[in-house]
Symmetry: D4
Subunit: 78 residues, 8 copies
């Protein structure tokens, strides 16, 4: 399995509500509120044959309060 | 005809619905869901005398679920 | 008077409607639809004692269909 | 206490309304309307044990008319 | 002929030297030093059959002191 | 095999030299000079078990004149 | 006088050296090392008739170790 | 201790050399090569009283081959 990092911009004032919903959905391995352009950063693990775009679209982006996502794929873990 | 690349940010959870609508509208030559700041990347072909801004505004941006577009013009194909 | 460049992101499919409204409002010196992250680029002229932020907020951003603005001030004309 | 800089993108035409609400809420040390991608820039002071993300989410992002925030933490003051 | 906007990031401290070189090269219609991420913004005019990428690469980017360019094509002038 | 899009920022005035080197290296499926923040956009094909980061680092980024790369992975082709 | 915010990207490992030089040059009102895309954020004050671009180019960007600047003008202080 | 995420842009073709140096320096908790605008993403842990800017400047940015860093602070771990 490979880690994927996803950053989320949330609707103003809804960051912690989104974080709680993500935590309860048990799809994330790590989840933080952060400084910068995005409000949350999370790490998920997918198998090589899972479609990351579909997974994010269905399991994550569907959570109410998310405005925008930035997906960063990892190639190698050192 | 020249290729133009258009990247789309979609409303959360609606990426695949937008992709299906674009596919059915038969305006795109290639269409992918992608990593990064944008959810979809597509290639379209326009003739030199077509107004790319008008085309995108009327044929693409009018599809429900699109939030934001990034248009990249090509100059030369190598 | 100094020129100020303002770039506008419009609601999907409403770029040309916004452009028409700006043109009719007679506040812009030049106005173009463009490639890139923003849909429209315009040049306006303000006097040194005009508050650019207030002007943009009241005269431009109030036009329906505008989502986001990027304001670039000019220092020197060569 | 450490200063934190927060930049705000406001709903079109609502920048000055947001600025007034922030000013009245007495949470900001400095507040300016600005050029660039963001409409407002503010400086707030938090103690080392305050959760900046929670503070921004509850006290600032909850003000109506804010679309997006960019948070910049300071490390050292020279 | 169509206007093209080009923004330039210059090597630190060399912005006005680049501006002078561009002015003397007589390739620009308008040229300003600006606020924001880029140091200079210029407008040039090209005919429909000119390769903008080649023109920028040969006539503009070759001027010493330029670090990075952002090219924005215009579609329609309103 | 899956397509990957890579955008390149080149040292000022060296875009077409980089494009020629890429073309001769026969690693790209499509290659264009473009408008926007990046000078070149290319499409390459990699198998699922190839390390995209390693490939880009060794075969592409090693070409003289490249300053910066933006890699966009594709998930699904529609 | 009006405040201007300038953010600086420094050559890797030279951020604190740049900060010291800025501090000694006595041109800045406030100066911080920060999180995010830029390494330093500073506030300077200029009179309405000072050319901010020229000031930054001559007094700030000329300090060795600065790679890139982002200038944000303020319009109104609330 | 709190995790901090740092993304690195490396000189073209030197990404894996930088990754090796970081790994050997034993300052990182996790390290990946990634898609997107940055080449490497790492997680480090600092105590509340450590100056993150100074740490990054001295321990990380000093490694040869790093061009640019993006630092993202975490506030809360969910």
């Amino acid at each position: 399995m490979k880690p994927i990092f996803i950053q989320l911009q949330c609707a103003p004032g809804r960051t912690y509500e989104v974080a709680d919903a993500l935590y309860k959905a048990e799809v994330v391995s790590e989840l933080y509120s952060t400084s910068g352009e995005y409000d949350l950063l999370m790490k998920i693990y997918l198998t090589a044959d899972q479609d990351a775009g579909k997974f994010i679209n269905e399991k994550i982006a569907s959570i109410p309060g998310i405005v925008r996502t930035l997906t960063t794929m990892t190639f190698t873990a050192f």
